[in-house]
Every structure is written in structure tokens, then in C-alpha cells.
Symmetry: C2
Subunit: 192 residues, 2 copies
């Protein structure tokens, strides 16, 4: 419950992260300045530094917060469909928060909260018949493929495109499908 006119809730890391996410989602990464953030929280810029080390750390906290909402796979699906769905879900989710990919690209963050997601995908991949090393490589490939699609809004040479306009979403689905087709042993695609 927000106290309307009286005392503000005490400033905290959580409060900062929540407000910062709201600003980034609404207005983009560039609009997320420490001045704007402090103002939106009704405090001074210097006060933020009692809870975060610097902007870099704040961005890391934001990514970590978003990572909590990464999709989980439907265990009822077959391996290939389960993998496909989860990566399409993640693509859709991160497309709705485009600042996340930018933060990952510009910094060197290690998101603790993304580890369970990674582990689940590795399990899916080994469960589909891959060795541990191939599973790791496949995971990194899928992740880097996703990052590339999220960041590259104007693929170079785009002005060559005479082809029917397919959405980024369709293109990502095509790419992941093709990759899974060749990656997973046995189990041919059999039209769908």
C-alpha cells in the first residue's frame, strides 16, 4: 500500500530495482538515468549509492530480476517440441523487454538467476540424446542465436530483401527449427 501524502516507504535495493525496471520497460535503457530513477523514487541521486555500487551493478541486478521470469518447459511435450517452445517463449519474452539484450551485450554480467534456466535446457538437450559437450555447445548456440536476433534489427544488406516480409518471430522460429532438426538424433521432423 502506497502511503499517499505522508512518509515514503524506506528506500531499498528491491524498490530501486522495481522502479528501474518500470522505467526501462516504459522508456528504454537510455531513459534510465540515475537522476530520473532518483526523481521517480522521490529521493536524491546520492541516496541510490547507499544501496547500489554503481550503474553497472544496477543493470546487473535488473537482468537478474528479469531472469526469474524466464519460461519453463512443458514436460508433456516431446524433446524437440519442448525445446522449440521454450526458446520461442524466451524470444517473445525478451522481445517485450528489449533493454535486456542490450545490457547483456554491453556488459559482462553473470546472471545467477539464469542458471536454473540454463540447467533445464541442458537437461532437455541431453534428454534428447546429446552428449554433455554437445548439449553445452547447443545451448550456447541457441542462446547466441537468440541474442543476435534480439539485437540485430536491421540485418546488414537488408535492402536486398525482395522476399515476402517475414516477421522476426517467424525467422527466429525457422532458425531454431532448422538447428534442432539437424542437432537431435533420430526422430525426423515428419512435417508439421
Amino acid at each position: 500500500m502506497v502511503t499517499p501524502g505522508g512518509a515514503r516507504p524506506k528506500l531499498s535495493r528491491e524498490l530501486i530495482v522495481t522502479k528501474a525496471r518500470a522505467i526501462a520497460d516504459a522508456s528504454g535503457l537510455d531513459a534510465l538515468t540515475l537522476r530520473e530513477l532518483a526523481h521517480a523514487l522521490g529521493t536524491g541521486q546520492a541516496s541510490l549509492y547507499r544501496h547500489i555500487a554503481d550503474r553497472r551493478e544496477l543493470l546487473g541486478l535488473l537482468v537478474d530480476d528479469v531472469a526469474l521470469e524466464f519460461p519453463t518447459a512443458d514436460p508433456g511435450l516431446a524433446p524437440r517440441e519442448r525445446l522449440l517452445k521454450v526458446w520461442l517463449d524466451l524470444h517473445a519474452f525478451l522481445s517485450a523487454h528489449e533493454w535486456v539484450a542490450k545490457v547483456i551485450a554491453e556488459g559482462e554480467y553473470i546472471s545467477r538467476n539464469a542458471a536454473p534456466f540454463a540447467q533445464r535446457q541442458l537437461d532437455s538437450l541431453t534428454g534428447a540424446g546429446l552428449g554433455t559437450e554437445d548439449a553445452m555447445r547447443a545451448y550456447r548456440t541457441l542462446y547466441n542465436l537468440l541474442l543476435g536476433f534480439l539485437l540485430n534489427k536491421h540485418p546488414m544488406g537488408h535492402h536486398l530483401e525482395a522476399v515476402p516480409p517475414s516477421t522476426e518471430d517467424e525467422e527466429f522460429r525457422w532458425a531454431v527449427s532448422r538447428f534442432l532438426d539437424c542437432l537431435l538424433p533420430g526422430e525426423p521432423p515428419q512435417g508439421q
Copy 2:
């Protein structure tokens, strides 16, 4: 020939781009400020604006300049090997200029000079048996895959890696190889 003590060569777009690339290559994108650039050119900041519209345009010019050096394929190779080699070459080239991927990721640039490269890759892909639409999708996939590998230095969940340390180079080779294997019709990999 640089005139040592006397008159400087007249400022030009070319001179600005050359010096800017040198700074970015040597010290990274953050070090490429208009102040530093002007200083390195022995002129004032305001003078730069007589040749470029703003920093954004400068970065676009830089990418365009780099694109002139994108690799060309060896026509003597078979389609699959030709494609593999050219994308590994491009990966190696852009790894040596890491600021390029960052510029592409943060801006929305359309590099005119990258168009011939794109066209050659499309030709290789159709030459390998793909339809025009699939060739376009394959090109975008390869390009986005490359961008993801260049930008993502710490793939999320990296602290899971118990697997033998493979270099980014090897991982990219693995990813492209696998993708080409499933993409190109006929012509099985047949061990190598």
C-alpha cells in the same frame, strides 16, 4: 606524407573516419569521444561537425568503412566449405574489431558497403541448392548467430561449464558447421 611541424592536412571525412577507427581499434568504443578524436586530429570539437552530422553518423561511417574489408569466398571450394570458411573468416575479422558488433547492436545502421558481401553469401547459398527464401533466412540466421557470438562474452549460466574449455572460435565453428550440415541438401558431411 605528414607535414611534421607546419600546416596540417585539411580536415576531411576520410581523415576523421581513419583516425576514429584507429582510436576504436586501439582503445575501444568508449574511448572514442569527439573530444579525443578532435584532439588526436589537432583540431577543435566543433570543427568535426562541419564534416559529420553527429556521433551516430560517425559510427555508421566507421561500420561502412570496415565493411569494405569483409572477406570474399574462395571460388575453388565446394559450397559447404566455401560458406564455412567465409563465415569463420568474418568471425575472426570482427573479433579483432570488437567495437563493430557493439555499434551494430546499439544503432540501427544500414551498411551500404556490406551489401556485396550479403549478395555473395546469398549466391553461395542458392548455388548450394537453397531456394531464394531459404537462402535469405539462412543468411540472416548466420549473420545473427555471428553477432550473438561476438557480443556475448559471458553466456548466461556460464558458471555451469564443467566441460573442457573450448574457445569461442571453436564454438562458432561448431555452430556454423552444424547449421550448414542440416541446411544444405544432399552432400553429407562425410567426416573431416
